[in-house]
Amino acid sequence: MRLFAAALLLMGAALAAKTAPAPAANDQAATNGTYPQTLAEYGFFTDAAGTKPAPGVTPYRLNTPLWSDGAEKARFLYLPPGAQAKANGDGLLNLPVGSALIKTFKLEGRLIETRVLLHRPAGWVALPYQWNAEQTDARLVLAGARIDTRTPAGEAISYAIPNKNQCKECHALGGQVVPIGPKARNLSAQWLKDFARAGMLDTVPKITRRVPLWEERAKAPLADAARGYLDANCAHCHNPQGAASNSGLFLAWEITDPVMLGFGKRPVAAGRGSGGLQFDIVPGKPAESILYHRMASLEGGVSMPEVGRASLDRDGLQVVEAWIKGLR
């Protein structure tokens, strides 16, 4: 926890100090066609434990993040020297070739895995790295891995590091790998301002409706908290170009069509995932809504998301339940 807090504190410092002239990160590893076998080869960090970002590596956070068995996450964005991200309205920042997104997961105080998303000339590539027992480096696990660990709530789980293809399952949009997290609407106004001031973003985008800060969701409109959660946790598959496009259930922030959002919508390929229920969302009735039922399940073939969780997100469930209950 302390390590990660330190990393977040560094955020300000990293932004204040303009891009260093000499690249500390290994641009070769990030952009050539190979799969680096260890995280250290990229040179994204100056320490072995991957907490001190090298020049050009900027920590960031998402207002409402993807939930992964309660794992603590540290996120970093790498831009090669002289490169600049471009704002794209309230959507995904446009990151140039050579950029990378780095996300480290921690459970029980230990580094579990680091996922690296590299923008190569041929497109984005997603690679998973598993930390060693000594916590000194992380090794590429193309085929993924399983680790017995505990959630912050104390539940014993078999935690799954996704394989390379599973990375793409969530990150694919129209068949191409793309980042999910850094959408301007899900980043803080201050961070965007600082990032632009540091010369790493062309302009500060105007955001009409920002995804609320998850830990301050009680202060936000319930619909925003719930829709922000669904956007961050479901919409990468449940969108017209995502892995769940054939379901017709689309949960992104900007969707307004009630049937696409699941209101009174019958399932198409849910199988036993339906739990004997008729509709994805029955306004006012979370217990009769397939969406809630699948979020509240731990059973393979039923639970949603299909990958990336082995326990229940009670906070997320609470928000979605309250939202459905209040729908008319």
Partner: protein, 412 residues
């Protein structure tokens, strides 16, 4: 150096048909099968064959393939078994998301969700693949056995599927499809073609399912307007397994004992099939029965042709409300071969005495069976086709079926 254009063209053609470094990656059953097999599926390159050894691969997670032009080949559907009985994660056993893939000669057992799913995977071949839930029909089995979706070019040939709690072979939101020579038993639906076009379903053996072959179109989906389907030379026999689909799924509404069922499709021919011992109805032609909000959707079936089928005994134990009362009123003690809900235009038929249908004579789309005013009628030989939208009038639909290249990929 300038290369002669002809040489370049030849080299390019060669590269397309047989990548220079195409190789075989052998994967044996045994310890660490999960990681070894998944890694092989990741590092494979176009043209490669991932060769699975004989034996039982004990797997804990779903597998996936995302490389174009790869063949995954086992030692036979009884010899190479991917065993997902202990599966902990993922929505299916094997997921394919790349084009020009061939899956052949292996089995998938007891997945928690679907058996094999291919999504956005154009020109895929499933050949002599078996998907089985070994405990028989159960609501807790996965939904689909073989599940190609959102794809153009699908060939499912010589496969066996049993135990699926939705459909054994399900092709959804796809086009240019052939489903042939398969054996599907004890699924809720044997074969289902849904929101798809240009499908040829021939020479399958379809038995002991709840419903044999379903051709459906559903509202509120990205791809709709299913049709141009030929169902021919199938043996659809004794589909009498009680419906075990979880409620909420459209197939949960299919009455036990249905042979071939067409719902809300355009241009479906049902010809030269052999239908026997289907206790509710050999052939059912109906509209989508639920309320819906979707202006693009047409809930009625259009241009359905029923021709030269052979009918054995059927309709002797209909599994829908009021079925028993209907039966009691008939001297033959069995319903006619064709059941039509009476909405839209009747199907065409020219099978003489086989062309009698029971019309439920429902007053409107969405009416319940309680509003049925059943009557027996002789199906017409000719029905004026409904008006074709101007945008489509000039286009002749393609002949249904998968591209020939897919058939050429498998040698018999």
């Amino acid at each position: 150096m300038r290369m002669p254009a002809l040489f370049i063209a030849a080299a390019t053609a060669l590269a397309l048909t047989a990548p220079a470094h195409a190789k075989t990656i052998d994967v044996a059953a045994g310890d660490g099968a999960q990681a070894r097999l998944q890694e092989a599926l990741i590092v494979a390159e176009p043209g490669d064959v991932v060769q699975l050894g004989a034996g039982r691969f004990v797997l804990t997670d779903g597998l996936s393939l995302d490389v174009n032009g790869v063949t995954v080949r086992g030692a036979g559907m009884q010899s190479t078994v991917l065993d997902f009985t202990g599966q902990q994660g993922a929505g299916e056993g094997l997921l394919v998301t790349s084009d020009d893939v061939t899956l052949r000669d292996f089995a998938v057992e007891n997945t928690k969700g679907d058996g094999i799913k291919s999504k956005g995977a154009d020109n895929i071949v499933y050949y002599r693949v078996r998907v089985t839930w070994t405990g028989g029909p159960k609501e807790t089995n996965g939904a689909y056995g073989i599940y190609p979706v959102s794809s153009t070019g699908v060939l499912v040939d010589g496969c066996e599927v049993s135990g699926a709690s939705d459909a054994g072979i399900y092709v959804g939101q796809s086009k240019a499809i052939t489903v042939r020579y398969n054996f599907v038993e004890q699924n809720v639906a044997g074969i289902e073609i849904e929101n798809s076009r240009d499908a040829f379903v021939n020479d399958n053996f379809v038995t002991r399912n709840t419903g044999g072959i379903l051709v459906f179109d559903l509202p509120n989906l990205p791809v709709m307007g299913g049709g141009n389907v030929i169902i021919t030379r199938n043996i659809v026999f004794g589909n009498d397994t009680p419906n075990f689909a979880p409620k909420g799924n459209i197939v949960a509404t299919v009455p036990r004992g249905t042979g071939i069922m067409v719902m809300a499709n355009d241009s479906v021919s049902i010809a030269k099939n052999h239908l026997d011992a289907n206790p509710t109805a050999h052939i059912m032609v109906v509209s989508y029965p639920m309320p819906f909000k979707d202006a693009r959707y047409i809930p009625t079936p259009r241009n359905v042709l029923i021709l030269s089928n052979e009918f054995g005994l059927g309709g002797y134990d209909p599994a829908f409300d009021g079925g028993a009362e209907l039966l009691a009123g008939l001297e033959s003690r069995s319903l006619p071969n064709v059941l039509w809900d009476g909405l839209g235009q009747p199907p065409r038929a020219s099978d003489g005495s086989n062309s009698y249908a029971l019309s439920l004579n429902l007053p409107s789309q969405g009416s319940g069976l309680g509003q049925a005013r059943p009557k027996v009628l002789l199906l017409p030989k000719d029905v004026p086709p409904p008006p074709v939208p101007v945008s489509q009038a000039s286009k002749a639909p393609p002949y249904p079926g998968a591209p020939h290249e897919l058939e050429a990929r498998i040698t018999r």
